[in-house]
């Protein structure tokens, strides 16, 4: 087996930028992504989307098109349709990267060897645990946006968008520009947030980014019914979504809806990093865990790097800059460029990063989801896979359950196919609430390899060796 210099997981802006830089510096580079095309979440479908979409997808989307040609010229190998499910660091410091690819009837697994690994796995939707969020017809807004980018699908019938954050406004604008009517936009941003957020970014208040965002909000307000300060949001229906119920001020209202699109921001996907043993830290402003990284994206595991939104939410432009910074660090660590060349090359990308981060503190403060939408109560489902309610978790936490990993043993939450991706943060925060501890002290649900379900057939297709064993044998906690 030949050893790669660097294996990169995730072909969004961070992964594409890192791979391009590494390959241009002469490193043998492979880029793996579970999707069939490059672009990640923001630029999904960038090589196939119709230019007829240019106008309503918006210029930020089309920026992604500039990342692909340099990547294709760089000499990096691109492996689409490959799901990475384990990383094993060996005694000699190299990694075994296990992945599966192929159609359902002929999926097979392989393990490649790499001297360094960059995780550019991006973000996922933050859970939005409200009553009725498991009903068919309730979708994450980011997911609905992917349908628009790759399949030209737009809602038909009565669609309600509910939640908070830039992505929700962007989706509303994209739909409206595409001629789709929106029954209501329910804004759950709590009252008083703008006043709290404004002082955090004086420079940003005058920047073009803010002006662009405000234009978007104004555009949506002119064309759709926007309800502010929404609380007590719930979806009703028997076998699928039929209505949304909510409160605003002292009014309670029920609106019929066939499709409810929820969103309250995105959080880092820490599954691979966590399972690989990278130290994670709780970010109190963003209310999520993220791997602890240095300024180059280096984690607590030598040779393992995280770039882009997977290392903390900062957006697509920041992801690109962070991808290049990590690429420089890896090129230096593997002896391709000197430290001075790395530092000189980094200057530009640090400026780009600083520029991209200008409004972050403001956005984080403005759009931090309300406590009630992060920490549900009663029958509201916290763990969708195993159907565990908030009340069950709160009760066990009050009874002295030690942490999320014990909670998993008691309730199975985190044991279903999603492996805690959609309940992990909720469990941590609910336990913190019940036990009056800080989420940082409660800790995270521990992810384990394989981070995605793998069939026995796929495992059997791996050559038996040290990596195959490490990929599936669980080390004791």
């Amino acid at each position: 087996m030949t050893t790669l210099d660097v294996a990169i997981v995730g072909a969004g802006p961070a992964g594409l930028a890192a791979a391009t830089l590494c390959a241009e510096r002469g490193l043998s580079t492979s880029l793996y992504d579970e999707h069939g095309g490059p672009g990640g979440q923001i630029y999904r479908g960038i090589t196939t989307a119709s230019r007829a979409r240019a106008e309503f997808l918006g210029e930020d989307y089309w920026r992604g098109a500039t990342l692909v040609p340099p990547f294709e010229r760089s000499g990096a190998r691109y492996v689409p349709g490959a799901t990475v499910w384990a990383l094993a660091r060996r005694a000699d410091g190299t990694f075994g990267v296990s992945q599966s690819a192929g159609p359902p009837t002929a999926r097979y697994a392989t393990t490649v060897e790499a001297r360094a690994v960059i995780l550019a796995t991006g973000a996922q939707e933050r859970p939005f645990p409200i009553p009725g969020w498991t009903l068919p017809g309730v979708l994450a807004a980011g997911g609905a946006q992917l349908l628009l980018k790759t399949s030209s699908l737009v809602p038909r019938g009565r669609v309600v968008l509910a939640g908070s954050g830039p992505l929700l406004w962007l989706l509303a604008a994209q739909y409206l520009r595409a001629g789709v009517a929106i029954a209501a936009f329910l804004d759950t941003t709590p009252r008083g947030r703008l006043a709290q957020a404004a002082p955090l970014a004086p420079g940003f208040m005058l920047s073009p980014y803010l002006a662009k965002g405000l234009d978007l909000v104004r555009f949506v307000r002119r064309r759709a019914r926007v309800v502010e300060y929404v609380t007590a949001l719930a979806v009703e229906g028997k076998d699928a979504a039929e209505a949304v119920r909510f409160r605003h001020g002292s009014h309670e209202e029920t609106l019929p809806a066939d499709l409810v699109l929820l969103h309250q921001g995105v959080v880092p996907d820490v599954q691979l990093a966590g399972a690989a043993g990278c130290a994670l830290a709780w970010n109190d402003v963003q209310a999520c865990f993220a791997p602890v990284v240095d300024v180059w994206g280096g984690t607590s595991v030598p040779g393992l790097y995280v770039a882009g939104d997977g290392a903390g939410i900062a957006g697509a432009e920041a992801a690109e800059a962070r991808g290049r910074l990590t690429g420089l660090a890896v090129a230096n660590a593997l002896g391709r460029i000197a430290g001075t060349a790395r530092d000189a090359g980094a200057q530009r990308h640090r400026r780009e990063l600083a520029q991209a981060l200008r409004g972050r503190a403001f956005l984080d403060a403005l759009y931090r989801p309300a406590d009630a939408f992060r920490m549900p109560h009663g029958d509201t489902v916290a763990c969708r896979c195993e159907e565990v309610s908030a009340a069950t978790i709160l009760q066990l936490a009050r009874d002295g359950c030690a942490g999320p990993n014990q909670m998993k043993a008691y309730t199975r939450c985190g044991m279903g196919p999603c492996q805690g991706r959609f309940c992990g943060l909720t469990v941590t925060e609910l336990m913190a609430q019940a036990q009056r501890r800080r989420p940082a002290d409660v800790g995270a649900l521990r992810a384990r390899f394989p981070v995605k379900p793998v069939t026995l057939g796929e495992l059997a297709s791996l050559p038996v060796g040290e990596d195959a064993l490490r990929a599936v044998v669980r080390s004791p906690d």
Binding site: A52, P104, G142, L259, R384, E386, F422
Partner: protein
């Protein structure tokens, strides 16, 4: 629940959904094709049997699992349609067809 934008120019991909022929489009995932066909319910939750449909559409929630070409538990949102693909929904739910809706 979803409709194609009228100017969509992608070519058709012939698949079957629970035995019925359906024209998906190149670029569709299995989940996109099912939604375009008017399906909201993809499967039943294992514990209570409650109907479920896709939520994240990016491989995270596993709510979209269906049977593809005889293989159960495939993430519909992560798999591209291919000509002749056979998709079956509703593992574990009896009356899943009740929500079939009307195709656009």
């Amino acid at each position: 629940m979803f409709a194609r934008l009228p100017d969509d120019a992608a070519t058709d991909v012939a698949i079957t959904i629970d035995g019925e022929p359906f024209a998906a489009r190149a670029g569709d995932t299995v989940a996109a094709a099912l939604l375009a066909a008017g399906r909201r319910v993809f499967r039943a939750a294992p514990a209570t049997g409650a109907p479920r449909g896709p939520y994240c559409l990016m491989g995270v929630c596993f709510e979209c699992m269906v049977t593809v070409d005889g293989r159960p538990d495939q993430q519909a949102c992560m798999l591209a349609v291919a000509p002749g693909m056979r998709i079956e929904t509703g593992r574990g739910v009896r009356a899943v067809g009740a929500d079939a809706g009307t195709p656009p």
